[in-house]
Amino acid sequence: MSNYIIPVLIIVLLVYAVYKKTNCYQSFTKGAKEGLKLVYDILPYIVAILLAVALMRSSGLSDVCIKAVMPVFQFLGVPTELCEFVMLRPFTGSGSLGLLDDIINSFGADSYISRCACVIMGSSETVFFVSALYFSQTKAKNLGKAISLVLLVSFVGVLLSCLLCRFL
């Protein structure tokens, strides 16, 4: 189904644009130019955040953090096998997708652990990456409140995912 969404949407858009007598070619190139500028704008922010994440993972700091929070997770009903995954999710999209693959591989696609991980993956976002992207567009300084708020909600989402997977 999803394979059809994009081509059909684009066709509808182009037909509508022609009907409205828009110069599609000119519009497209104008937008594309903006897109190029956008990447130029966000590149330094992404480099900064991903550099910090890479250092954290390879220095062993993330392992230490994971060990530290493990008891808390266990207490709240999150399987210990998912600790690393839950911790990495806000930082890296490709990294957590790789981990999800590992989890499904080692526990089987229909196990409780994998289902949990899938629900967590599907209902959350790479918060730090998204914040680096979105806040690269503003001069606003006081971002702590918004980021911690979103992280809190993501964590509630993790707890909910684990709870729901027990029943569904």
């Binding site: 189904m1 999803s2 969404i5 949407l9 858009l13 644009a17 409205k20 519009s27 497209f28 104008k30 937008g31 594309a32 897109g35 956008l38 990447v39 966000i42 590149l43 992404i46 480099v47 900064a48 991903l50 910090a52 994440v53 890479a54 250092l55 220095s59 062993g60 700091l61 490709s94 999800l100 591989n105 089987g108 696609a109 899938c118 629900v119 599907g122 209902s123 959350s124 976002e125 918060v127 998204v130 914040s131 992207l133 979105y134 806040f135 567009q137 503003t138 001069k139 300084k141 702590g144 918004a146 980021i147 708020l149 979103v150 909600v153 993501s154 509630v156 989402g157 909910l160 997977c165």
Partner: protein, 189 residues
Amino acid sequence: MNILWILMMIVSLGFFVFGDPASVVEVMNTSVSDTIELCLTLCAIYILWMGLLQIVEDSGLSNKLAVCLAPVIRLLFGNVSKEASQYIAMNLSANILGLGNASTPAGLRAMKALDNGSGTLSMPMAMLFALNCCSLQLLPTTIISLRSQHGSVNSSDVIFPIIIVSIICCGLCICLVKLFYKKAGHNYE
């Protein structure tokens, strides 16, 4: 963000000093070149989608979309400029359709349009960020295909819990943003 970043960098580098100082430079280099590779991919995606979004905008479709979604936007974001509400409308609808690649450029432009340059994060900006952090997607296609690849019996049985959790998270995000950023007080018109 600044404090967090410094903390992450210093503590990680500290770990390296006591662990394996020789590999620091290599790790940093690989990371940055990986990121640049990622940016090339992003570049391709953004150029394509920004081009298409420009057609959406110039044909007046985004205006229509914004008018359709006006009640929702008004409820969530309060009083925002016409330009911003168009981008917000595109961002939200692309998110729901699962077009993550299209939603991000629209969202970034919305963010830029919402920024009034005062240096503080206003309620609409926080709302936009928060909504984009709880994936609103209707069909989590990547996850479903990953599951069926690994021989799941019923690969789509996670959709239901994912949607429930997403909706609850979104609701929570909206409430918290509204609560903590009470009166935006900005009139953009």
